[in-house]
Amino acid sequence: MNNNSNLLKGGMGVVLLILSAVILVVSLFVALTNLGSQGHASFNTSSTLPWGQPIATYLYFALASSGLGLLASLPLVFGFKQYYPVAKRCVFLAFVILISGMAVLALELGNVFRMLWAIPLNLQVQSAMFWMGVFYALDLLFLLWKFSKLDAGEWDSKTSKQVGIASFIGVLLASGNLALIFGMMSMRPFWFDGLLPIYFYFTGVTSGMAALVFFVYLAHGFSRDRMHPTLQSLLSGALPKMFAALIGGTLLFIAARAITGVYSNNPEIHLVWSDYLFASSLYHLSLWVGLLLPFLLMLNGNFRNQAGVQLLVSVLVFLGLFAERFYFVVGGQVVPLFKGTWYPDMIAYTPSLTEWALTFVGWSLALLLIVLGERFLNLSAMPDGVAESTSARPLAAG
């Protein structure tokens, strides 16, 4: 019924499509010409700080995708029926956001095509990065499979349920293992943390939620009136409460890491917090405006349910967590490792134009695919029973 209410199927969709395509073409052009002429010397990374913003971008997308996958499992695996109206969109967003992240990663690697044979043929099972390849490939496959089931209207069939469970496990393995790529590095104490997978799950779901809220509103022209009543009741009920709890949990995690880090005498942890993170106004901005302010807004029962507030919060959290990923990746490397006085200070890093171009490749590709999906697929679909049971109920407008 609410198919026609999807604004992206109309003129606004065309505008966004053109906009994202233009950004994609321009940023891809900048990235490819710079990489072609200067190679990775066009990055500001170095042998002392080998992972920069492209890796952080990939991490951001991969975890946002996992977060969306976990959100989709709320109705599809755990039976939280009120989340049905966003399930299909979650699965779709998880799929295209992961693809976009992978595209950025591919452009970051020194020899991308070699990866296609060198990883499967050499079976280095000791490497977390090997498992990252395996689990994210499976994750992608299950997301696609699950989406095709939902697209065929199979919400409750046995296979649909099984694929849903498989996908849920795939998401947990993929993002948990991604965390361990960092968390198992005992020579990098800022990252070394056995509980990092939990941190990644939590922050991943938070960024996934931010993406979901934003794109739900975008699809409906930022107006709740265009939405199906079931979706309206979700957005003024269970969802914002959960969003608030997720942001709060994320803040708790960051606080716990920060307190341990600042308290530690080990300069490889302590200095990262005191002289890099807390010395950066951008980090402060991302923390206070990107996470704390949204949390405070969402704590208030009146604010929480307003469409404008939700939209603002989703954008702030989106950006705040992007910065969080950046500072996480770079922070693990800023203290020079075994370099003596050749590196008397922390290693300075600001992304180059090419690295920014790669980030924009990721964002514009994701946007392009999302708008295409909104135009050609019915992402607001939900099981008939759910759609009917609530459509008759009167709703408090947001």
């Binding site: 020194g110 990065m129 020579m187 203290v335 200070d345």
Partner: protein, 253 residues
């Protein structure tokens, strides 16, 4: 089978960096791509301030974390080559995870901003898939072991001069540059060291000079808490690495 090891006597090392230069010449590395470097450290303050230094090759760890993380087995430890850790440039995808995982910071991704101008890669543009092609090159090239000049997009590191060491007569345990019979097979850094602070030989041979030095003169491995168990040992005072202190925050203790 031999297990190649290196011993560096810091009481003899003058910090002259001849080893660094010899390595760069031998292996045609770019400026900054110092497979063998000499690290300088300050410790303490007046009146007990110290200056320390130590030469730092790849430690060819017994438990090499770089090998464990490499998703393609491009980085591997070859027990048949004395336990040297190599990078196979035909397999490396340039993910740089090994650079994250090496506690000693001895791996290089030369596809980066040049350390000095002019950029040697522009002065001698790469041919035959090489990252750069200087006019004088070591004729030994073996990309499966990361020997020679690398292609773009891969990681490079010290090979213990495997292209020399592997040609030594079978059964050689002490690579002494003063012994005419083996001097051609001695790693470049060892051979060039003027005060004879470096020794190279077989850690598996009980009577080898390296084993005797480690035993008699209390050889230690750096950053031993990482558990990587280097095959490079240090002798003498000064084999302790001070914790990182930013330049503007002198040690106030």
């Amino acid at each position: 089978m031999a297990k190649w090891g290196m011993v560096i006597d810091l009481d003899k090392c003058t910090g002259c960096q001849a080893c660094t230069t010899a390595c760069a010449m031998e292996n045609n590395t770019l400026p900054g791509e110092s497979w063998q470097d000499v690290l300088f450290y300050h410790e303490g303050e007046y009146p007990s301030g110290q200056m320390k230094w130590l030469p730092r090759p790849c430690m060819q760890c017994e438990k090499p974390s770089c090998v464990y993380v490499c998703p393609t087995r491009a980085t591997y430890k070859d027990e048949n080559a004395g336990g040297i850790v190599f990078v196979d440039w035909n397999k490396c995808i340039g993910c740089k995870y090994c650079m994250i995982a090496c506690p000693y910071g001895v791996r290089f991704y030369a596809d980066e901003k040049p350390l000095i101008e002019p950029d040697m890669r522009e002065v001698y543009p790469g041919q035959n898939k090489q990252l750069w092609s200087p006019p004088y090159q070591n004729p030994d090239e073996d990309w499966r072991r990361g020997i020679g000049i690398q292609p773009p997009g891969v990681v490079s590191k010290c090979t213990f001069c495997y292209h020399k060491v592997s040609k030594a007569p079978a059964g050689t345990v002490d690579f002494d540059e003063d012994n005419p019979a083996v001097k051609e097979y001695v790693p470049a850094c060892v051979r060039t060291c003027a005060p004879k602070a470096r020794y190279f030989g077989d850690l598996d041979a009980p009577d080898s000079q390296v084993n005797q030095l480690i035993g008699d003169k209390h050889g230690v491995r750096l950053k031993d808490h990482t558990g990587n168990k280097p095959q490079v040992y240090y002798l003498g005072a000064g084999a302790g690495v001070p914790a990182f202190t930013p330049a503007d925050k002198g040690d106030k203790s």
